[in-house]
């Protein structure tokens, strides 16, 4: 853990060397997700509500998604860059060091410019939490925290699978984007609006709905069952197969030798 903090400090220092570039990238990130939210706003100006969700309630969804995703992206960015690490031999260096590979990939490649989205997610939270009509008792606050934390861990699991595929293909695979970037983009509305089949897929196969849709029902008092509050934790089971997949890939890894 101490090592991790040290790595984090190193990354922050090195990325702060280029201040202007850092702030511009941050601003760029901000704008990109801002336009998406503006789109949501325009839709709600016209339609008022969708499937009984108001604009503020949808915003709550977006904010959870944005926050979970950007946390995952800040810390697990290494897996996104993993194809490059393999193809330029950087990963071979990782393998000879006496630390866990996953830990090293996490620690070596943190990208703090990604907090642009995080900043925005916080702003959206500030706006949406009082407006959404949720009475914020302790259990509700706990639910929200669980949504964000478990959500970002599940996104990390997706990144891990993406990296695992790289062992087999060397190139990055674009279709994983529909689950990571797609999850973030489409998570701006509660997942139930996409229809039952998609919801089932996102519950049992890739458990994105477990930390977005079901706990939201609990937040909005549409489900009183406490079970819904802890569903994000159930979603963490997803990490097991994704880690196992990564290990399998790692076992059959052959350096491409460059």
């Amino acid at each position: 853990m101490k090592l991790f903090v040290k790595f984090l400090a190193m990354q922050i220092k090195s990325q702060m060397q280029y201040k202007l570039s850092f702030f511009l990238t941050l601003l760029g990130q901000l704008f990109t997700s801002f336009t998406v939210l503006l789109g949501v706003y325009f839709m709600f100006v016209r339609f008022n509500r969708v499937e009984d969700y108001t604009f503020e309630q949808a915003l709550l969804c977006s904010a959870v998604m944005l926050m979970a995703f950007s946390l995952a992206e800040t810390f697990a960015r290494g897996f996104d860059l993993f194809p490059r690490m393999i193809s330029n031999g950087e990963f071979d260096r990782v393998l000879v060091r006496p630390r866990n590979e996953v830990f090293q990939i996490l620690a070596l490649k943190m990208d703090i410019t990604r907090i642009g989205r995080l900043v925005q997610a916080i702003l959206v939270f500030c706006y949406a939490t009082p407006q959404s009509g949720v009475i914020w008792t302790w259990d509700k606050i706990l639910t929200l925290c669980l949504m964000v934390i478990c959500g970002s861990l599940i996104f990390c699991g997706l990144f891990l699978i993406y990296a695992g595929f790289t062992f087999f293909t060397i190139e990055g695979l674009e279709f994983m984007n529909i689950l990571t970037d797609g999850g973030r983009e489409f998570g701006r509305y509660p997942f139930s609006i996409y229809g039952r089949k998609i919801l089932m897929f996102l519950t049992f196969v890739v458990p994105l709905a477990l930390f977005q849709y079901y706990p939201l029902l609990y937040l909005l008092d549409r489900e009183k069952n406490v079970f819904y509050m802890f569903l994000p934790i159930v979603g963490l089971l997803f990490l097991l197969p994704s880690y196992a997949f990564f290990r399998t890939g790692l076992k059959r890894y052959k350096s491409i030798g460059s």
């Binding site: 570039s21 702030f23 511009l24 998406v36 969708v50």
Partner: protein, 267 residues
């Protein structure tokens, strides 16, 4: 003229090499398009009267958008041009007896077109075989389709001409990442890449439809889907021609200005 066509061809063949990457992209785009359509249909169910386009028009809009994604999306970036400017190989470009603006314009256009040719057909075929409400339908008549083709090429021109302005801005500032993200986010939004322009609130829409971004994907996609037809479509095409001329003119002016004072440091 011949040399520009040759350049266009080289680039085109070059990008056709990455077939596997294109295949992976296809699945993604298909899933993406479906999710978009599901979202819109949820809004349609919520309040059909507030829906500003016919639902089938929206479906066609989204499928065509996915099929022609690489043609119109601003975030698609021509790395070799940016590198030529930031790393100085522009010196070689400048000694060649080719007009640099035209050369880059062709290069960027050809790359977009090549990527798109690979990707669009499978999406178009699958999307037109889907069950009824989600099916991509043909435009009402041949004339409309021809208008769509003309408008597509003009839109491509406008997109490239606008991105040329971004490349030229690299002469003045060397770090591109932030500027590029901001400009492409704004222009994609105003071109109707996230939400089609008819869904914008009325006063905003009136202004946005006059901007150059409305001459990008907005026009051909709405002409194809039948949302804009007949005389309105012709007027739209004239609007596109105007913006294309203006953007090319500004681009050339800025480029000449930049090239006059460009300093390539040693190497």
């Amino acid at each position: 003229m011949k040399k520009y066509i040759a350049l266009f061809r080289i680039r085109f063949i070059n990008s056709l090499q990455y077939r596997a990457a294109a295949l992976g992209g296809l699945a993604t785009q298909f899933a993406w398009g479906s999710m978009e359509i599901f979202a819109f249909s949820a809004f349609y169910r919520a309040n059909p009267d507030a829906f500003p386009m016919e639902f089938s028009h929206t479906v066609s809009y989204i499928w065509m958008q996915q099929a022609f994604l690489t043609l119109f999306m601003m975030w698609y970036w021509e790395n070799s041009i940016a590198e030529a400017i930031t790393e100085g190989s522009i010196a070689y470009e400048m000694v060649r007896p080719i007009d640099l603006y035209t050369r880059w314009f062709c290069q960027a256009g050809a790359n977009r077109l090549a990527r798109c040719t690979l990707r669009c057909l499978p999406i178009l075929i699958v999307a037109s075989l889907l069950p009824k409400p989600y099916r991509l339908i043909l435009p009402p008549d041949m004339g409309q389709f021809l208008l769509f083709l003309v408008s597509t090429f003009l839109a491509l021109g406008v997109v490239v001409a606008f991105s040329m302005l971004m490349y030229i801005s690299l002469f003045y500032m060397l770090s591109s990442m932030g500027i590029r993200q901001i400009t492409s986010a704004i222009s994609d939004f105003l071109a109707g890449a996230i939400v089609p322009l008819p869904f914008f609130p009325e006063p905003v829409r009136a202004v946005v439809e006059l901007l150059p971004f409305a001459a990008m994907q907005n026009m051909p996609l709405r002409i194809y889907s039948g949302n804009i037809s007949g005389m309105d479509a012709v007027r739209g095409i004239v609007f596109q021609v105007l913006w294309l001329t203006a953007l090319v003119f500004i681009g050339r002016l800025l480029m000449n200005h930049a090239l006059k004072r460009v300093i390539v440091q040693g190497g």
